[in-house]
Symmetry: none
Subunit: 413 residues, 2 copies
């Protein structure tokens, strides 16, 4: 079965909000094996709503509207659908009672245009809206299934989860399951070269590469009768991919690298402290987004000035004089320094030139040194990142997090 | 002129990501007087891309594609467009050079499929992509304008702002000018109450309130023949709004509070140091996003542990014992401590409970103390923020930045 979403609302076309409803609906449908082939957004205009509805009826089996069910004059979704299909609007008593109750509870006066919300097309059934006044609408029209849901995501999502998905999953025979492999340190095109034959011959499961800043992901998606069969389809493909590019694989599904690092730190009970220069606290910020990190994260230092590097990290004045703040030697002393002063198992340092100014031929913008110190080793990585100031900060912190991740993996326990 | 966006990418239809590109593009077009009537999302499928392209050609003057320009096999946008319009793909030398350079800079091997990215349809021109390898494409086809941009927003947005908008604004007859007023410390509904009559009677300019986390903005948008007329329409409305709720107004348009704070610090040549506990470095990160801040930002300390508070900020052990790390007294000593140890004009401290755990009846999750110290005063604000861990971090940093902003304004110079 092919599904399509139609979001109705001029605020979307003005760019005031993003169409997150389409994302929420798509994810829910794909989990029950229903393919979504199109998303459409259209404004609060009867003629244009009619046009996109006509197109959708021609190409999709399931059409899910969001928005345009409110009480105001520019809420036109069900009016347009019912007039296009010649189905008169009828009062839905239970919906009316809930709306009246809604206003009574809040001690607000119910206005005439709220009655409009209790009207639904003949032959359709109302979908309970626990969070607002507008009921959803479920309409079977010949072979087509037309669903109308309110626009506010906090109203739409519960209705989707509690009413729409259970109904549609009974119609869908299949399960779709996805597994996401996350890679760091390899470009999208090089990764694809390595698995080209798999990509060419893919059908079920499908393999979809996606490049994000500093990382590439592969989404393996299988369609089957049930979850177990879907996983059985994915396993061999995943194993083949890991065999070829496993050394770049760092995580799965939605897990972020800082979550992995936090997990490894907590599991190995290793404490960490961070000395950041050009990244200005971004690494500490990312790590401290993880609940429970305070057990292992002792402190961070944003040593922007040389004085801070000397006072808080014991970086030697002659090192700064001789090699400069952005140097392998300074990164080394920063990592050792924070580890010693914070008395932690691990010390991490980042020093570089984020730009846009401050670069030189020898030390261009994007030059970043990342230091790692533990009881056994002190390692410094040299990087040259591209992009603007915020890109360099972002890429530097990613590189530092991945360095810690690798070291924690290597040292085992 | 009617415009439409077409986002190409199965990851959108799988609900992996939301189509934020459509929002970014719509907002930008709206500001230059071009109406966006439709957003469409379609998967990486040649036949379906062709179908939606055909529909778009029938109903829109400007078609902006995002996505499907990458090097991989499932990147089909320009291939589909050029085959549908019978325009062969030709190699664009400058683009090829940039791609080769891109890989050389990173010391990465360029693979065959990267050459594919340097191909553009005959008669089109390439749009410079500073953040990635895929050039954008600008194609005039009869009366139609067809634009293709890469999918990753961090690549797409600069190309939109620097190339596409300047080009399209020359074609647009009308000028739409927007002025955004940014408020902090007043709720959306209360703000609306204060200017209700203006909102009801608005036509040109229009006034659109938008609530974001911790702040409310009013977008005043005027449509006119030229920029001057548009500004003349906006001025009296802005003045009336400022007269009523000016005490909550903190900024205009896209200027972020950290940019305002950085501007005020640099202008008054006041140095600052920050001691963060529950915000984990987020305030330092935000301030260090501003180029040139190193002139006034001396250091930051993420004093997660009590030991760090004592060693780096001279917080007294008895203070921590008696009042706890999350207390007015500790916030005070942290602000004074960082100012003294860093020897700066201003010291700022944040200590609180970000959650989800660590709360108690006396000190619930969301309780945050913010300290400010300069040569004249030491002030501590007590807040109780709602939301999850990242919300509390965000709101705390906003409150701290606004506190510094107010103090710098008050102390004049």
């Amino acid at each position: 079965m092919k599904a399509e979403t139609i979001a109705v609302g001029s605020e979307l076309l003005l760019g005031q909000i993003a169409n997150t409803n389409a994302q929420i609906i798509s994810r829910a449908l794909q989990e029950i094996g229903i393919d979504v082939y199109y998303h459409t957004c259209v404004g609060d205009n009867e003629e244009r709503i009619k046009q996109v509805f006509k197109i959708a009826l021609d190409r999709s089996d399931i059409i899910i509207f969001t928005g345009g069910l409110g009480p105001t004059l520019d809420d036109l979704t069900k009016e347009t659908v019912s007039s296009f299909l010649n189905l008169p609007l009828k009062l839905d008593e239970p919906s009316l009672e809930r709306i009246e109750d809604f206003f009574k509870k809040r001690g607000r006066t119910m206005t005439q245009n709220n009655y409009k919300q209790a009207l639904i097309p003949e032959g359709s059934s109302a979908i309970l809206n626990k969070k607002g006044t507008a009921p959803g609408i479920l309409l079977k029209y010949g072979e087509k299934i037309i669903i109308m849901l309110p626009g506010p995501p906090f109203e739409m999502e519960p209705m989707l989860v509690e009413s729409v998905i259970p109904y549609l999953s009974r119609l869908s025979q299949k399960t779709i399951f996805s597994r996401v492999l996350k890679f760091y340190g390899i470009g999208e095109s090089l990764l694809e070269e390595e698995i080209k034959d798999l990509l060419v011959n893919q059908s079920n499961p499908t393999i979809a590469p996606l490049a994000k800043m500093g990382e590439v992901t592969l989404r393996i998606t299988a369609k089957a009768e049930n979850m177990e069969d879907a996983k059985d389809l994915i396993r061999p493909v995943e194993e083949e991919i890991v065999k070829r590019v496993g050394q770049y694989l760092y995580g799965f599904d939605d897990e972020k690298v800082e979550e992995i690092v936090a997990r490894l730190l907590l599991a190995s009970k290793k404490s960490i402290a961070i000395a950041e220069s050009c990244t200005g606290g971004l690494m500490a910020h990312k790590l401290t987004n993880i609940p429970g990190i305070s057990e292992v994260f002792e402190r961070g230092v944003v040593s922007y000035s040389n004085r801070a590097k000397q006072e808080l990290l014991n970086v030697k004045e002659e090192t700064l004089k001789k090699y400069g703040a952005v140097s392998e030697q300074t990164a080394r002393e920063m990592a050792q320094g924070i580890r010693v002063t914070a008395n932690t198992d691990i010390g991490v340092s980042i020093t570089g030139i984020a730009g846009p100014t401050g670069g030189s031929p020898e030390k261009p913008v994007g030059l970043v040194f990342i230091g790692y110190a533990d009881s056994k080793n002190v390692i410094v990585e040299k990087h040259l990142f591209t992009g603007d100031r915020t890109d360099v900060k972002q890429r530097s912190v990613d590189a530092a997090l991945h360095m810690v991740r690798r070291m924690l993996k290597d040292t085992g326990d």
